[in-house]
Symmetry: D2
Subunit: 390 residues, 4 copies
């Protein structure tokens, strides 16, 4: 079991989640594929960086992320910054031959994503984009059912990602509302998770037809805004323009003939992290709601007529990743577990010299879908989605 | 309290539901606006007609629906036939000065619907189209909340109507799969209910952008098919072509700026009568699921932060129509109650010399939306919805 | 198909529910076992009686319930009065050879119930006590599963009946709070329904161990109180003593070795008609909640480990009584349907010369359980339940 | 921020959960009250101990738990062994002046628990018993509502803890089925969690009245059985006697006049970690289900009548411990978070020189309740619960 040294760039919420994953992964999956060593953490401000190191259990800290890239002892670069920094860091890390895990979305646009993908695709490194929600055990179970043919051929997919944290018009103009940093709004921030799951569970998108809405066109400026590594600071003062979407609604044509839709908004009062999908197949249906993420609902058409209905399956040892997680279903899958599993699969790929999904190719393909959605909304028409595999 | 004589045309499932409503309405709403008298029922086969009269408590029966139109003692004509007969009967009834309640959809097309609307619009009669689900007390409560401003300005609407009764490719080619009788498939049969609720709760549609799918292109022919009044007979034999949609998915632009979507399918294993909507407003959200129709979920943004969340309100005496229904919430609203309330409002309009909604204008407007959906799916583009009020 | 003339005594909420059942039963179950004719309705006040006749569709009315007993044209006596009148009316009806359906609980005490049971037991009449909730299709489906052995040997039963309509200390001292009229409080009013279901699904009670609580010891007196037929009139003024229980909690030993508990209260804010049970067997579990009565949840231990979980079965045509009810599950079972099914089974027993369950023997056995519960609460100890079959 | 060195005894599932908590606590709660240092872990087998140290991130390992007690550098002793070792270890640790966190139940009996309590009560150490479920944020929120008077005076409490992992008669006779190691069955293993929550939320128990059932009287012997530190090894062979309860059902009288019940079983097919409670107060109700632990349901009687119903509150930043947990509700509380919060409160007490609840007094009081339950079941009568505070 080798030690693999990690350099983490970004000490915000995502830094926390990734640090937890590195500490906990071997506790859950043992023998571990490798032991992550929390070597160094970067934050723009050196005091904050030192503080983050202590908090998140890193040996060292730095205010200069490039020093991580330059450090020959670092095996893994973890990019947990705002979106606009992903490309520069990832390309540098790839050139330095580091394995890379990058927060989602891969970048602000398809073009940026392509540059990142080009940087890694011919190198002998493992690259991953952190669409963690597909690693919820219940989602992995849905994948297993589908691959086993348990619901037959898929006819339709309906996904949502509904939140309410930006429904308040007085919540600040954080970087997530600024196109220059975030690339897009609800689309890149949250819809991409559902798009990733749709690709994972159903298959490639051939075309999209979308509507983007900006419900709150301006928000209070933050005193400081986001710093270079994207930590959001509270702020007050005059209002600035929101130039990203608050809500995205799209119809989907899948390459395999299925149809679908995705709706994502951060303005849905009462919804918190409402990631859902409903999939209808010729032999059954699957329903998932992340807010009740220990559960997957599945209906098998082949069940005897007087006993047919959605089964509420609580994931546990009998289900994907169950060998590593908690000994009893419903003991409790939290957000942390999705990141712990993500780390497990990432380090396993490194240890075994393989690859992992979703990787930068997947991240780039999602970016192409995002670009098509933006174009579709502007043109008010269907737009074909280019395929990178082609 | 006057007696009003009803002639009911059609003795199938809808005949049963309407008969129940006529018998039960005064039991629930008392003093009743008027007393419906079940005078005569029509079915194409005279023996079946006589049988239906006994079963549904009608004084007389006939095999000739025109005799009902011609009978001066009949005040109300109730059209519970398959869709292709609606127009002819309704126009005849209108010309004879009868009050009319017609099952949904109003007709097969906008053109047919227009003829019906033209026939009633300048006459002194009450006309209604039986979109009964908006009369579920929980839906009426949603309307009340919206009118009171409790959820602010509406931003988005998402509706579904999912069933699974036609998911089996061996289920017969009943009239509901034949365009010449039904007009359309899931669109007219079930999506129209959600479209009606969307108009009722949010407002007029300005444009639609739709996909129609036919998942099972042919089905076993029935031995006899539907008779003239549409009662479906079981059958076997070779297969015939399905020329209507199994599934409809549409995006919506509302005139007031809100956006929305509707999905309806009869091929969703495990869904039975899954009529749902979720509405997000600037001040709150409302969620409804007919499969749990005693309940309405509502979230008020103004609730104190540590006590905020969807409230599950069980409708009862404190809610719309509660004065007539059961004395305690959750005693149980069934399908029958939606039709009893419908009858109540219809007869009240007659007794008071007023009008009721949804009427033929509403039915015609929904038909225009349906036509736009069909056109949009064919053109693969947004289509503007004409407004009859214009 | 014979006509059977019904005399209904009591024109309150229960009169409404029974009238609905008589009108609708043949609409649902056709050919009907018999056609109930709403012949005469009794209320103490002649004007109210006449009004009720019109409202509920009865041919005649009377202020003297004895005239119904004396009328040789009446085949069925329906007792929908407050509890204290059940025994006198039922015994008179039995002596007159009428078939009898009596609202629950059968009477105020075991002693009264015994007199009623003795009056009917050797006569050639059909007698029934109206524990309607066991006729919810989902409950009948639970019974079917159990009889098929699908959940194995039953180990435990947990039932509740929670309401909140008397949680307000200012709600009036209706007859339901007066021992002389009601016999007991939550125990006889609502717990008996769950006790009936426990006997139906699990088997006979051998012993009980109970706690009775009266949370609100006095309530406002009503101006008039209940009239002879028990219709509750609104009232104000000084407060009177509540001498019945607000809440009952009991443990149960069943004769077959299973254990159980029942809790019933009318002081549970937020609960409306929360009749629930959960049954654990050696091979599976069943869960029911009347507030979502279209559904039954069942878990089969024999399901494959990675697909095991509670199935949510929506009752419909494939389930008990489905041939008569609505054509699609979740179209909607309401309170009315439970009474329609009750009427169906009652009239079928008359038409076929058989008997029906729950009958007066069942009602008497439940009364013996109730008496044991009262005794147990007073003695603060286990009390054996006498068995009338012994 | 001081470092505090932890010696953990026991490397099974609980060892994992506690190790996670020590690693993650400062990541969540920052500045942390203190930094737990994972110093040494004990397991009976030295190879397993070394393996556990690597897996769980401890600096050292030992096969002799006494060496931890004797080590002056250890500040905190964490007891995560089977129940029969709790007392000996805890008493030794107390005598050595260590702070102690001990898994639940505190010990096998009240007598053992008393010895432990006596050992700590006059020492200047922080002691805690790990009833972690009360630290689920939703449970802490229930406590807050109750303390604020939001549901008034509590009338009744109903709690359950239902699992199904021992429903299979072929699951092995692990230490949890052996009285000499576990003390009791479902009672000590799981019911104690609910009893702890009942005391926490409602108040002291004055008397209990219980039934204990053993559904599966013998089970396959394990090849090796549990080792000294209780790690369960798979096994086969002949069957041995189960001498503990599979199911416990008890009624409760609380000192403040409320009534209650608790049911716990490990033989409930389809239930996984179904810890629930429902509390009725004079002004509202609270309902919790750990299987959906992000949510708390609360009904306020004071809500306007047409908007009253259970609110489903997803805990997050606006709720207890929200400052440290995830930035958005429903991002996901898992089992780990309950232990992270537990560690936070424990170390805060050490850092601040205070105490924490539940401590050994609470653990002892729960043991007295357990003993009373056992006695009640044997005597088949109510048994008063002694109060240690008296």
């Amino acid at each position: 079991m080798q030690n693999l040294n990690v350099g983490l760039i970004g000490g915000g919420f995502m830094g926390k989640a990734h640090s937890l994953a590195y500490a906990a992964m071997p506790m859950f999956f043992w023998p571990a594929p490798a032991l992550p060593v929390r070597k160094v953490i970067a934050e723009a401000n050196p005091d904050l960086a030192a503080d983050a190191a202590r908090r998140f259990g890193f040996e060292n800290s730095t205010a200069d992320w490039r020093s991580i890239i330059d450090d020959p002892d670092i095996h893994v670069v973890d990019i947990a910054t705002p979106n606009h920094l992903h490309a520069e860091i990832a390309i540098a890390a790839a050139e330095a031959g580091k394995h890379i895990i990058c927060e989602k979305p891969l970048a602000r646009t398809g073009e940026e994503s392509k540059a990142m993908y080009d940087a890694v695709k011919d190198k002998n490194i493992v690259h991953m984009v952190a669409f963690n929600y597909r690693r919820t055990p219940a989602v992995a179970l849905a994948k297993k059912y589908i691959e086993e043919g348990a619901i037959g051929q898929i006819l339709s997919f309906r996904g949502t990602y509904l939140q309410d944290w930006s429904a308040d018009p007085n919540s600040p103009l954080s970087w997530r509302f600024q196109k220059s940093i975030a690339g897009s709004g609800a689309l890149g921030d949250i819809a991409t998770h559902v798009i990733d799951m749709a690709r994972y569970l159903v298959g490639e998108f051939s075309a999209v037809n979308a509507v983007l809405s900006t419900w709150i066109p301006e928000r209070p400026l933050q005193a400081g805004g986001a710093d270079a590594l994207g930590t959001v600071r509270g702020g007050e003062g005059p209002r600035g323009q929101v130039d990203v979407d608050d809500e995205v609604m799209t119809m989907i044509r899948f390459a395999n003939g299925a149809v679908g839709s995705v709706e994502a908004t951060r303005n849905a009062h009462g919804r918190n992290n409402y990631i859902t999908f409903e999939i209808h197949g010729t032999e059954g249906s699957i329903v998932f709601n992340y807010e009740r993420r220990d559960e997957l609902q599945v209906c098998f058409a082949s069940d005897q007529a007087d006993r047919r209905g959605f089964r509420t399956v609580y994931t546990g040892p009998a289900h994907p990743y169950g060998e590593g997680l908690w000994p009893i279903p419903a003991l409790g899958i939290g957000y942390g577990e999705t990141k712990i599993i993500e780390a497990y699969d990432f380090f396993k790929a490194i240890a075994e010299g393989g690859s992992v999904s979703p990787n930068f190719a997947d991240g780039y393909q999602v970016a192409l879908i995002d670009d098509a959605i933006v174009e579709s909304a502007a043109k008010e028409s269907w737009v074909e989605v280019p395929q990178i595999s082609a």
